[in-house]
């Protein structure tokens, strides 16, 4: 018996044809086919027999085909789209990483802030910083070109553990390494790219399990739609929801509270009124968090009021703190003429 036939020397497995000119699909000598196997005849009903005959025919087509399909070769290089926690953890093991948390409702301008930062970096428009590296360049390019969008109406439910190639936008972290011009210090930032629905469900139902990683963030950007704050009809709602979000953040990060920056968009519509600031600050005082307001214009409609990217660099500076003032290593001690410096040395002590 050879392979799938009871007859020694059967040629079907090798060349796909029977040397005895029998049909391999119906041949009684084939193992598992034909009436002699007993398996088919034990089942009543013509329909089943037809089905079995089809199956036999189908299997006959694959006779002689490789037993196992060849494995698909994976890409030669890892992708640089948004990063999963595994990659970020690996990165954090080798150098200090400044984690930034970004929260904000849908359409508040989170993506615009990220895109604006990327455009400033890629065009060399930051005054105090230069680009050094990014492990998620494709991720930045994708969101800047709106090449990938959240699943229409069904935003992803959690951060993917491993980077996957997909047509959908995957929630994850973006990495950016910048060099500060003033002191040459290199700072690694991780910035989350998450759907606004996650913030909304944090406010509404306190769902914080998928935002656990933000507990380790040094600075939290809470992006608020500046239009909604300026519009009388939507102002109270925006302030109240912000207050509630701050409450959730306070609860979520009570062990190690981050510096919170409330990022108000649409700075190109003018400076935020003091009355609005006062109402926002009243909300901040209800929470045991250090909160500051920063106004930005990620993309300005009116370039006369302020340029696109306004405030983004200040946001970056505020997130890491300013460079320490460089102390003069050897201060000048040239004595003034007639000061009798030698006699007066240390007289003042």
């Amino acid at each position: 018996m050879t392979g799938t036939c009871k007859i020694d020397g059967c040629t079907v497995d090798e060349i796909g044809k029977c040397a005895m000119e029998k049909d391999p699909g119906t041949c009684e000598h084939r193992v598992g086919f034909g009436s002699s196997t007993g398996t088919l005849t034990s089942f009543p009903g013509n329909a089943l027999n037809v089905e079995r005959a089809d199956e036999g025919e189908m299997q006959g087509q694959f006779i002689g085909a490789p037993v196992l399909e060849s494995t698909e070769r994976s890409s030669a290089f890892p992708s640089s789209t948004t990063l999963g926690f595994d990659v970020v953890n690996r990165l954090a093991r080798s150098r200090y990483v400044t984690g930034i948390g970004i929260l904000g409702e849908s359409n508040s301008g989170k993506t615009a802030c990220l895109v604006s930062l990327y455009l400033l970096v890629s065009n060399g428009h930051l005054k105090g910083w230069t680009f050094a590296d990014s492990a998620s360049l494709t991720g930045f390019e994708d969101i800047a070109r709106a090449a990938r969008v959240w699943n229409d109406g069904h935003p992803p439910d959690q951060i993917t553990m491993h980077t996957e190639m997909s047509d959908d936008r995957q929630p994850g972290l973006l990495h950016l390494r910048l060099k500060r011009r003033s002191d040459g210090k290199r700072v690694d930032f991780t910035l989350p790219d998450l759907p606004g629905e996650w913030t909304e469900s944090l406010i509404k139902s306190s769902r914080s399990d998928r935002l656990e990683f933000m507990k380790s963030a040094e600075t939290m950007w809470i992006v608020v739609d500046g239009k909604a704050l300026r519009e009388l009809r939507t102002r109270q709602g925006a302030i109240t929801r912000l207050g509630e979000l701050l409450g959730r953040v306070e609860e979520m990060t009570k062990e190690c509270p981050p510096k919170v920056l409330v990022v108000v968009t649409y700075r190109d519509k003018g400076v935020l009124d003091q009355s609005i600031r006062d109402r926002l600050e009243a909300e901040f005082r209800k929470r045991a968090l250090s909160v500051a307001i920063l106004e930005v214009a990620p993309v300005a409609d009116d370039e006369k009021t302020c340029r696109s990217g306004f405030g983004i660099e200040e946001l970056l500076d505020a997130s890491v703190g300013v460079a320490p003032a460089t102390a003069e290593f050897w201060t000048s001690t040239t004595p003034a003429p007639g000061a009798r410096a030698y006699l007066g040395y240390r007289r003042d002590r």
């Binding site: 890409s75 030669a76 895109v115 455009l119 890629s122 680009f131 990014s134 800047a144 060099k179 993309v299």
Partner: protein, 281 residues
């Protein structure tokens, strides 16, 4: 000893013109590297350099294959060491595709892993260079307005990704030192005197800020930046072309190198310098 270098760059970045000119420079035997033995297969370099001999740059569209190899045994004039080098000319489209697909052929991957030196090309003034996204286009994308002319991945992003691929693949040098990356800005004769004086690094900082920042931050590659003019001028200018054709290819062309002592950028007629540094005999 054998060594291989990887030659990378986008379309129309000057790779083929340099490989053709490299062969003629090796033949001339006046540079740091000289041809130690006549190459067995001259078909590719002969065909490529024929364009230069006739006073024309090799155009992007004239490359018919994805990959052609130039193999030659070279010797160092300073220490007499010899090495058989393989310089593959791989089309810029293939590199661009590699960045999109995150993949290269298994053979090329093996070559990258075997090499401990690479040459990364970009060309001043090429119409194939893709600028980074600007605010106007960025705004359109953000407001979901359809952008009709999407030029694709910007050149500086593509080059940063190619550097990442090199970091992941290039082998350490035989003495255990870091692999070397020579960044070559071709058509350097087209820049003005002030830009030349500041040098190609300052040029990259101004025109390709991300690439310049990345090169400054690379820690596991040794990087050196060169300016390059394969024939020392623009062959599209009739006057220059006439003089070039009359004098011949030898002695024409230069590499801009920063002098170690003065820090000044100077023209060196030794066109083998980028490869000589990358393989480091």
């Amino acid at each position: 000893m054998s060594a291989s270098v990887v030659v990378l760059g986008g379309p129309d970045s000057g790779k083929s013109n340099y490989i053709a000119r490299l062969w003629t420079a090796l033949r001339e035997k006046k540079g740091e590297l000289v041809e130690a033995a006549q190459p067995t297969n001259l078909e590719f370099v002969l065909e490529a350099s024929e364009h230069l001999f006739q006073g024309q740059f090799i155009q992007r569209s004239e490359q018919t294959e994805d990959r052609r190899d130039f193999e030659v045994t070279v010797g160092s004039r300073s220490n007499g060491k010899q090495a058989k080098i393989v310089v593959p000319d791989i089309s810029g489209e293939l590199w661009r595709q590699a960045v999109t697909d995150l993949d290269v052929s298994p053979e090329l991957l093996e070559d990258m892993r075997a090499a401990s030196g690479a040459l990364l090309f970009l060309r001043e003034g090429s119409d194939q260079n893709v600028q980074p996204l600007d605010w106007i286009t960025g705004k359109k994308y953000l407001s979901k307005v359809k952008v009709t002319a999407d030029e694709g991945i910007p050149t500086q992003v593509m080059l940063c990704e190619l550097i990442r691929f090199l970091e992941l693949t290039l082998a350490r040098r035989p003495d255990g030192a870091k692999p070397r990356l020579a960044v070559v800005v071709s058509a350097w004769d087209l820049v003005g005197a002030d830009v030349f004086e500041k040098g190609p690094i300052a040029y990259l900082e101004s025109e390709y800020p991300m690439l310049a920042g990345r090169l400054d931050d690379v820690s596991n590659l040794d990087v050196q930046v060169f300016g390059l003019s394969v024939v020392g001028g623009n062959l599209d200018e009739e006057h220059f072309k006439k003089i070039f054709l009359e004098t011949g290819i030898d002695g024409n062309g230069w590499v801009a190198i920063r002098a170690a002592d003065t820090g000044m950028w100077t023209k060196d007629t030794d066109l083998t310098q980028p490869v000589a540094w990358a393989i480091g005999l």
